[in-house]
Amino acid sequence: MGALSIRDVRKSYQGTEILKGINLEIEKGELLILVGPSGCGKSTLLSMIAGLDTVTSGEIRIGDRVVNNLSPKDRDIAMVFQSYALYPSMTVRENISFGLEIRKVGKAEQQKIVERVAHTLQIGHLLDRKPSQLSGGQRQRVAMGRAIARDPSLFLFDEPLSNLDAKLRVEMRVEIKQLHQRMGTTIVYVTHDQIEAMTLGDKIAVMKAGEVQQFGTPQQIYDNPANLFVAGFMGSPSMNFIPARVEAMGSGHGVRLESGANTYVFPAVSANGKLKSWEGKEVVFGIRPEQITHKVESGLVGEHMATATMPISLTEPTGPDTLVLVPVNGREVTCRVHPAHARAPGENMDLMFDLSKAVYFDPASELRIA
């Protein structure tokens, strides 16, 4: 029995279906990421797990209890909101102990818990301040403190870092990860930042328009996206999608790519023969930027490696890598190369494609073919 299981949960507002049958299950101690574009229903799902909103149909279990009809306070959960939602008229100390007080925890015990939480989050010196006297990052910590004080069996985070600046966001991300490892709590974490999703999650559910597109570990989702949407959503810069015709090639198949004056047919080594019925038709050939790099002479060359010479239309140095854009089949394709090997726009460059992780999609249904 999982720590949280969501079975065929649907939600409609005035006849419009916002969630269209969600199924998810995680084990105790896991961190589940709900990720997806704005408006896809992440917060709605979280509200229903929290009990702030009712499900139209389906079942939500926390531990071994069906919680559909329980009020938020009886669900043994805590939540951190995007806006932090600290009580403005209370001090930090009162904010943290409010939930304890309601649950009739003794004064001395409350004191002990507040101290422990303050120590964990290093907010001891802020305990007697009001929320209006705190910085964004400090408020964020207090909001987390309020959540961990009650030691619930499930934590819900709704985009807790999205109001912080970039640097602080990275710091807090690390801290949340450490906190999770140390306390071993079960967490559902909403974000629309795919880096947060990859770095924090034990499991990721990628959502779009009220449906879970794919549910799996970060690596599964990154390496084996179920459809075009997931493939494009996860990863930055995102995966290249190149419309390409499937052609017979030796015993298998390949995709036909044109760039500048050259035409190549790359073997679909990762397709395992699944492209057979697509011969002569167009598919979407998906390859991540880091799988296209400068040509190295030594070793690596094998059946899954293909080389090509392509004209550069643009370069974007990022520091550790330089992104090189080349035209393929009328699309700009991003390649990630070592800065020392990057050539200037207008020149040709020898590139090497690692085809072992290439993916192929049906252009109509956008589903994965191979």
Partner: protein, 292 residues
Amino acid sequence: MAELFQTRNTGHTIGRVIVYGLLVLVCFYYLMPLFVMVTTSLKSLDEIRAGNLLSLPQDPNLDAWGKAWSSACTGVQCEGLAGFFWNSVSFVVPAVLISTLIGAVNGYVLTMWRFRGSDLLFGLLMIGCFIPFQVVLLPMARTLGAMGIANSTAGLVFVHVVYGLAFTTLFFRNYYVTIPDELVKAAKIDGAGFWLIFRRIILPLSAPIIVVSIIWQFTQVWNDFLFGVVFSSGERQPITVALNNLVNTSTGVKEYNVDMAAAIIAALPTLFVYVVAGKYFVRGLTAGAVKG
């Protein structure tokens, strides 16, 4: 560049002069009657008859005030305004507090605990702001009769609470929509219920709008004449009605100084409330989102 600044500054200054000039004029316009009232109330009748309206009193004394308070005739009895003043206090205070409290709860429900049809309900309540007093007189009289509180302090409190609710609800609801509902959600998850959230989270944020509601209601209820004259009688009447009787009771000479003193006495409490809480009134009316 310099010239540009120059012209802008001159334009600015002229604008200022006009604005301040207008303000002074308006101030003068409003304060003039008060000045006449105060000086007249401090004069003796002889002096009033002899002198001019704007002159300062030669021998200021509080005789007229004393008479207005405790011995002027309001109809058949001659006991001044004192009793009626306390009549007013006795129903205004509960009416103001009750209508403010209910308005706060209404606003809280209409923003934080919405239910099917709550917006419609709010819309209907708002119609209450536009219903003239006269329209409700008869139905209200029957209602009070049916409730057995006709002609009583309780009845008058009830009338004013009902009539004021539309306004207080409007105030509180418009204030509470600026409070993020995540606050209430967080409190629900912390385990707080309806009343606890109201008391511990919402009310502590409401000071500015409570002041607005109290000032508004106090002014309305204290100054009301029509409900007072219709729904009370004899010695239970509010001060506004008594003042009217006092001024209209003609036993020989018209005592302008007593009339003026009486009018000021009747107006003092609202003035007092405004002076004490006025700056919160303005602040409350303009209060924006609550910073969290």
